[in-house]
């Protein structure tokens, strides 16, 4: 199983007030079906067993079929047939990834988009924090290994108000003002807030376990590093409204006063 990386959610720029629609980027966690060519014959029966073990998890789940690594021979698989068989197992194929150009053309003809290849998931340990509160993994399989080189730091000099989301892709994020409740900071690297942090902050989004969150006044709604998270009621009252940092240590999410 594998997931696509969290991608930047971009609200379409609205040209005139409030149009009839909005297009925005959104990140999804989806299963990727990788076919073991040598045992392709047993695919449907074995998959059926798997689905039976966790029917609620699989019911109508979106599936991306991975075409990479298949030999040319296998690449001529009957996509529509595969879609129909998976549908009978209540799995819905929503796209393909990888494959040759011909293969992708065939997929598009069959009504399946080619999605950019995602990064495979790794489950993070679920562990209590120093304060004895359980940090929980965001959701199974949303954590991916860091893969991309760091870019220059993103700096935001105005308050980040409620309803706003900022994503520092492949870089650190510095906010030199406050972050309101209802705002969200995302960064593949570290997050620094030189003001009160009242909204959500998710550092190490791409899986970097060394990422940290720093702020001058800890009042966050939610904090996350590399997929582990704390919500505001887990936050130790001792650091409330104090300068603090959040980091991962030995698989534990730690929140310390600075």
């Amino acid at each position: 199983m594998s997931v696509d990386p969290r991608t930047l959610a971009t609200a379409a720029v609205l040209p005139d007030g409030e149009p009839s629609f909005q297009l925005r980027g959104s990140a999804f966690t989806m299963m990727v079906l990788k076919i073991n060519e040598a045992r392709a014959g047993a695919l449907v029966t074995e998959l059926q067993d798997k689905v039976r073990q966790a029917p609620n998890f699989f019911r109508n789940a979106p599936i991306v079929v991975d075409l990479d690594g298949l030999s040319d021979d296998m690449r001529r698989i009957d996509l529509s047939g595969l879609v129909a068989r998976l549908r009978s197992l209540q799995l819905i194929v929503v796209g393909v990834q990888g494959g040759s150009r011909n293969q992708q053309t065939a997929a598009i003809a069959a009504g399946l988009p080619v999605v950019p290849s995602g990064r495979p998931a790794r489950l993070e340990p679920v562990a209590p924090t120093v304060t004895g509160v359980a940090a929980e993994a965001l959701s199974a399989g949303t954590v991916a290994e860091p893969t991309t080189a760091r870019q220059p730091t993103m700096i935001v000099n105005e308050p980040v108000r409620s309803g706003r989301q900022i994503y520092a892709q492949n870089c650190d994020l510095i906010v030199t003002a406050m972050v309101s409740a209802g705002a969200e900071l995302l960064a593949d690297g570290n997050i620094h807030v030189y003001g009160a942090l009242r909204g959500r902050a998710l550092a190490g989004l791409g899986g970097d376990k060394g990422a940290r969150i720093f702020c001058l006044s800890m009042e966050a709604e939610m904090l996350s590093v590399a997929g582990l998270y704390l919500v505001s009621e887990d936050i130790d009252p001792a650091v409330h409204r104090k300068p603090a940092q959040v980091h991962l240590k030995d698989g534990y999410l730690r929140l310390d006063a600075i």
Partner: protein
């Protein structure tokens, strides 16, 4: 060229229309030629609060649609010189507010007026967006409670990101906080946020604190902007806020509960 001021809040019923009427009247009393526009298309409250509802012939939407000329729709206040009202339509909806139409009307008005006050509808949708889009300054009307403060924060974010000044990368819209319906006694009992709490969350300059006051309802029932009731605490607080807007240094009043002696309380009860 006149200034465009939006009276906005996100949350409904916090006192935008009351404050629009009060500010417009206050500016006019000080000799500034002022017009106040109702952007709450479909609800039409401003003309009631201003007491001119029976003189409405054409409205803001008629102007946008080119069905009438501006000076046919502008209603001149009978009490205060320099004060004009541009009412809105009760039969149309917010879709009638096109960006081009609003721009045309506001540009024409700012040629002639010192202050153009836009009374925004509640929410963060088209009506509210159109009311704030062309603003030079914004008065954020907030009540001392968590949901109102949160919505104000949201509106501040929209001003910073989606106003014309933001889109053209011009100097940002100037922000002012107007804390209304402030009840010092309830604040003291911990039932409402206090001024400091609100300022800490919103972090914008405080223009004024308007106390909760019976005079507001009384005034709007007779169609009189509360600024004209200079005996009331609310009327005085609005006058102070207007003076601060115009650059005067005035201490904040009405933020502490009144302390009354036994006799005062007795007198008040029988009064």
């Amino acid at each position: 060229m006149g200034k465009i001021i939006v009276m906005t809040s996100g949350k409904g019923g916090v006192g935008k229309t009351t404050s629009s009427a009060a500010f417009a009247t206050g500016f006019a009393l000080r000799g500034y030629k002022t017009v106040v526009i109702d952007f709450d298309v479909g609800l039409r409250n401003l003309d009631l609060v201003m007491g001119c509802e029976r003189r409405v012939v054409f409205d803001f939407i008629n102007i946008i649609n080119g069905e009438a000329r501006l000076n046919q729709a502008l209603i001149k206040d009978k009490r205060v010189d320099n004060l004009y009202i541009l009412p809105t339509s009760q039969t149309r909806d917010k879709d009638a507010l096109t960006k081009e139409g609003v721009e045309k009307v506001l540009e024409e008005l700012r040629q002639e007026f010192d202050y153009v006050i836009c009374d925004s509808p509640a929410g963060i949708e088209r009506g509210a967006l159109m009311a704030l889009y062309f603003a030079d300054e914004a008065i954020i009307v907030t009540n001392p409670e968590v949901s109102s403060v949160r919505d104000s924060d949201r509106i501040l974010g929209m001003l910073a990101a989606r106003s014309r000044r933001a889109e053209l990368n011009e100097e940002p819209v100037k922000e002012h906080l107007l804390l209304t319906r402030y009840d010092p006694a309830r604040v003291e009992r911990g039932e409402m946020l206090n001024v400091t709490d609100v300022l800490e969350i919103l972090a914008i300059p405080l223009l004024g604190v308007i106390p909760e006051s019976q005079a507001v309802l009384r005034a709007s029932n007779i169609g009189m902007p509360v600024t004209l009731d200079d005996k009331s605490t609310a009327g005085q607080a609005y006058r102070d806020a207007i003076a601060r807007f115009l650059g005067e240094q005035i201490e904040h009043r009405f933020v502490k509960p009144e302390r009354r002696g036994f006799f005062n309380r007795l007198l008040r009860r029988t009064a």
